[in-house]
């Protein structure tokens, strides 16, 4: 694989900033990414608010300068080019929002996907989809947001065969039937 980029997605509607905070605070994770997974660049999508941007800058200033020479870390708030960011990455670590999951799994070639459900959100329904898609082998779901669990999931990446998301079915005929335009 020629892509050596890791993308961290926190989502836009209810940004999950703790995600990049935990990853960037851990020297072990960053070293593992560099040494075992050949990651040379990390892209962080933080929340659209200025508060999230400040958090990101604070995280960045706490990282060892030597490490930053090996792994380039950059970030952005909102972007129109999320699809391009995803397809340029080899690994995506994301909140378990349906939008990002679909964007990643439908991207060709699809990056390897690790999701971490944002448990404070919507009575844990991010949890449901993460588990269901993990059962189908499409992604790895991390139960708890901490250094140990993330490292464990990164270690399992090399031995895992990811299954593609089943091809999508089209509803156009059904909608046309209901709208009375099927035969027009």
């Amino acid at each position: 694989m020629s892509r050596h980029t890791l993308l961290i997605c926190t989502g836009a509607t209810f940004p999950f900033d703790q995600l990049f905070e935990v990853i960037l605070a851990s020297q072990d994770i960053l070293l593992f990414l560099h040494q075992n997974l050949q990651i040379t660049s990390v892209r962080v999508q933080y929340g659209p608010s200025s508060e999230s941007g400040t958090k990101f800058k604070r995280c960045l200033s706490n990282i060892d300068a030597k490490l930053l020479k090996k792994v380039d870390i950059s970030g952005f708030g909102m972007t129109d080019k999320m699809a391009a960011e995803i397809s340029a990455s080899s690994i995506v670590i994301s909140h378990a929002g349906t939008g990002t999951i679909l964007d990643t799994l439908r991207s060709t070639p699809a990056p390897q996907l690790i999701v971490i459900p944002n448990s404070v959100l919507m009575h844990g329904h991010q949890d449901e989809i993460a588990k269901a898609l993990e059962n189908r082998g499409c992604l790895i779901s991390v139960k708890e947001l901490n250094e140990k669990e993330i490292l464990k999931s990164l270690e399992s990446l090399s031995s895992k065969n990811f299954a593609p998301l089943p091809e999508r079915k089209r509803l156009a005929d059904l909608i046309d039937y209901e709208a009375g335009t099927l035969y027009t």
Partner: protein, 240 residues
């Protein structure tokens, strides 16, 4: 003495006007029965054919909801839906931007074929509805904002008179579907309601899904577990 007089007076009034009261009550009952019958009829009859093209209303939730809905909308041949209304909610400007991107892409993709069907004048519009409750708003004031939101939804649906409404949550599509039911019972339009449950719902329906399950014409789910639980839910695989 005065109290007895008063009762006597009311009694006389009622007996004198009993005919008018009965007629009024009866007409109310008849009107209600008529509305109910036309509503039930609209459910059991086949969809009305629109060879000249239909009017479609797309309800854009936000974030993942919008993405799922636009994916489904992207499969449609827009030439069959010359009148398209994109509905979004206050505070979410990104959904409209995404919808307009799809419109742009469709025009480019379908090119001449798209223009070659001038059966009905094309009209694309966007509607932004107020939110029922903003996060952090007090419950007391939210009674009034919800009421305002519901009335605004009814107004918009009556103005657009869509042939089909396509939605996939969140809660804001509930008043829109109720407005469709009004359209149908008054025989103004047979506004069909097409609901797609979000891919995120695997084992249980969303609250919106539970409310809309008995009233929509088509209820699509994306996981087999849900189709097993709800007999009128249709499962065909992942559609987004």
């Amino acid at each position: 003495m005065a109290a007895v007089d008063c009762v006597q007076y009311i009694f006389n009034q009622i007996t004198n006007n009993i005919f008018i009261i009965c007629i009024t009550a009866l007409s109310f009952v008849l009107l209600f029965a008529f509305l109910m019958i036309s509503l039930i009829q609209s459910y059991i009859s086949e969809p009305v054919q629109h060879p000249e093209g239909a009017s479609a209303m797309f309800i854009l939730g936000s974030g993942g909801h919008t993405k799922e809905l636009l994916t489904v909308a992207g499969d449609l041949n827009f030439a069959k839906y010359p009148i398209r209304t994109w509905v979004s909610f206050a505070g979410d400007s990104l959904s409209v931007v995404r919808a307009m991107e799809l419109e742009q892409k469709k025009t480019e993709d379908q090119g001449t074929a798209y223009r070659a069907s001038p059966k009905k004048a094309e009209s694309v519009s966007t509607v932004q509805l107020p939110r029922a409750r903003v996060v952090g708003q007090s419950y007391f004031t939210s009674i009034f904002t919800t009421l305002f939101c519901a009335l605004y939804c009814i107004y918009s649906v009556f103005k657009v008179r869509p042939d089909i409404v396509i939605c996939n949550g969140p809660g804001s599509c509930v008043p829109i579907c109720f407005a469709c039911i009004l359209l149908r019972s008054f025989r103004i339009k047979q506004a069909r309601m097409f609901y797609i449950e979000s891919l995120a719902r695997v084992n249980s329906l969303s609250l919106t899904g539970k409310i809309l399950y008995p009233i929509v014409d088509r209820f699509i789910v994306q996981w087999p577990q849900l189709a097993a639980k709800y007999e009128n839910a249709e499962y065909m695989g992942i559609v987004v």
